[in-house]
Point group: C2
Chain length 451, copies 2
């Protein structure tokens, strides 16, 4: 008996959309509305526990869009819903993305209302991307924006992703590793995520390995013989007793090299100090201490502040779901159609019409001092133009895509240029100035009055 697939493959993704996208597409098709449109992707409000978001996933998504389409099986299942005409479905079978996609390079810090992607394409092409673009870009941006705080808190100590088991499903766990790499984590326990996204694999052992052996010391010995320089998990029964057994093992078998011990419960700061003392007293300053268990940026900052002798942090749950800010209120809004600015009136919300560009200004030392959101072709705006054309006429621009590969280096550079106030963990937004250009401000008020 053949089972239906469990996971979602690339060929399924054109149907990963809200029904209304397809019913609107059919209406546009029937009405002959095929003029060029621009949609802008941005978020309205920074979560209270973030000072900036780290844009991530947008080039990855753009790459996917250049090969999106509908196969016969998909068209047949749409026909079965009874909501679509055969001639529309025939047209949908030819649907390809032929437009342009402008994006901020991945790893760029981004603030409220700043466009981080703009899509220029015939209306039906740009409209259809809406649900997918928001789902895909939100995930990587939310995860990277949380992870960069954890990395900042660790102040140079390596941080490892242990979050596979708590992240929301298959895709979150695998693409999450891509976001972690961008944000500066040092490794991951997630085999598929690490292999696919070029992140070093890292692993220790589980309590079950200890328990399957009749004796903890025997389990340590067996594992260390298999894996030189491995990490031994010492808290199955009693953490410091576990450390003593590791010390005894190294004494009894001097040829065995142990890389680290891992603490996974209890008062990590206190246990790390006592474990360090035991290891040093036994002449093993080279054995490192890995700590995990309920860590997030706050707990890590407290351990670093207290000078706990922890060399590596393993972080899972809280980072993996970004529990304090699991969503951002991304919008993907029609801002221009058929050459005319479009603007939804929303009391208390900023909606900005027309194709835009984002400029970032630096001071003499290269530090960011403020941004300007401007019209795409508006002359005379100071600063570096950040939105770049990643897709032109439905084709990837290879030299621009290459920027995504260097995202990690971009984050390191960006963090060095970011005002210190934005790198603090505490709530509060750090007052980074984001202005509208004169022409955009003018257009915004005339468009509002016209509606």
């Amino acid at each position: 008996m053949t089972q239906p697939p469990y996971a979602v493959a690339d060929t399924d993704l054109s149907l990963l959309t809200d029904l209304y996208q397809l019913t609107m597409l059919q209406a546009y098709w029937a009405e002959g509305m095929q003029e060029r449109a621009t949609f802008s992707l941005y978020y309205r409000r920074l979560p209270t526990t973030r000072r900036f978001m780290l844009a991530c996933g947008q080039q990855h998504a753009a790459e996917l869009f250049t090969r999106l389409g509908f196969n016969d099986a998909q068209l047949a299942s749409l026909a079965d819903t009874g909501q679509f005409r055969d001639d529309f479905l025939a047209w949908l079978g030819q649907w390809r993305f032929t437009g342009d996609i402008w994006t901020l390079p991945e790893g760029t810090p981004v603030f409220e209302n700043e466009p981080f992607m703009e899509v220029d394409a015939p209306l039906a092409e740009a409209q259809l991307l809406e649900s997918l673009i928001m789902n895909l870009v939100q995930l990587e941006t939310v995860i990277a924006s949380k992870a960069v705080r954890v990395v900042l808190a660790a102040q140079g100590r390596p941080v490892m992703d242990f979050g596979l088991r708590r992240m929301h499903g298959i895709d979150a766990a695998v693409r999450g590793v891509r976001a972690y790499r961008t944000a500066g984590l040092a490794g991951t326990s997630n085999v598929l995520g690490g292999l696919r996204h070029g992140m070093p694999l890292s692993g220790t052992m589980a309590h079950s390995y200890i328990l399957a052996h009749d004796d903890e010391a025997a389990a340590f010995a067996a594992f260390a013989r298999h894996y030189p320089d491995t990490t031994l998990l010492v808290d199955t029964h009693d953490t410091l007793e576990g450390v003593r057994k590791v010390v005894e093992l190294m004494r009894a078998e001097p040829s065995l090299r142990v890389g680290a011990v891992r603490l996974d419960s209890g008062d990590l700061g206190q246990l790390a100090r006592e474990a360090r003392a035991l290891l040093d007293a036994a002449g093993h300053p080279e054995v490192k201490i890995v700590a995990s268990s309920g860590l997030d940026e706050w707990r890590i900052a407290a351990l670093v502040e207290a000078r706990a002798p922890i060399d590596v942090f393993g972080v899972g749950t809280e980072m993996g779901v970004s529990s304090d800010a699991p969503v951002i209120d991304l919008s993907y809004k029609l801002v221009e159609y058929a050459g005319t600015p479009r603007l939804k009136h929303s009391p208390g919300k900023t909606n900005l019409p027309c194709r835009k560009q984002l400029y970032r200004r630096h001071d003499a030392e290269g530090r960011y001092i403020g941004d300007t959101i401007a019209l795409r072709d508006e002359p005379g705006i100071e600063g570096e133009a950040l939105l770049r054309p990643m897709v032109r006429g439905g084709q990837l621009v290879q030299e621009e895509m290459a920027l995504a590969v260097g995202a990690r280096e971009r984050v390191i550079d960006s963090l060095s240029r970011l005002p210190d106030a934005l790198k603090r963990l505490e709530a509060g937004h750090g007052d980074y100035p984001v202005d509208l250009s004169p022409a955009l401000e003018r257009l915004r008020s005339t468009t509002r009055n016209a509606i």
Copy 2:
């Protein structure tokens, strides 16, 4: 140029594991540790904002495990890590799950420390499932457990899933629909999720459709002509003005039938009352009111309490990430190996050794009055035995798998039997009694003393 895949297909899933599972497997293989083991899946602590969890996804995952394996490309990429011996990888190429999996039927309310899956298999088979089982089962359980609260709050009014764009990636959005179906939602906007998991599709229109037309009334007319009985989104410019335009459209073109208007911003209760009054005054009591925008169980409960005339709720963000409880602390623990009970000592935590069964007692009216966690084969325990063998010798037990299909009916039945205290939204756990059987209590204390 061929691009790497974007999403994760079924054939990738055996590598969706933590590195240590594979290094432990190699160690077990080298040590000849192939005795039968039992691992138990349970959660330790109910989130403060839940009174029960709705077990979901465990039969779905079990089905996947019966066809999991490693292909040559996967083995080659593992070889490239340099951590695995060729003879081990050859053995891994033959890895299949040949054991038994006991699960609670999907849609069963489950409480702290209750086993909701137990895996009995040779050690290397049961161990390898750990990371995947936790990732897969957590997602559906977390989403279903949040969604059932939203359904309870709506008191019979249909709830639609609008969450695709905010959920954590591709897999969360698609399998989330499966959890929503189990929890009792009435439909989803998510095309792929709905088609794959048998949930009715539901859709309205987006603001961009209104804005792409030069005039809101013209947009309503065009859409209603395409789609009889559709839902028109009335808040693009001014909600009540939008409703008036719908009324005027129905007056001017009496042949057009409008199914509903959708409110998506502002004071939903007040706007629903005013919209209802406008529609009724125009002789259109049949036009329904759909409300969306920032809804969760609390806001819906308040609207229902205030008798807001809302017929259908569309719910996205908060339900889609279960923002108040995005994770549960699932554990998958070795509880027996080679016929011997295994127990990790954790101060303040309940760990229960050996193969188990879960019994639920009913009163004379069929209401649940308490549970007992017992040894699998312990005689004389009162109540219904809930863990059932879904997989036997690596094969699905078809009559048991059929139970998963009826999960929705099981939830309706379970909710009718659940004490009212457990169905309230407020924090607090409702004091549902979960006891340990005499033999389990005895074994637990002797196992603890033996270590």
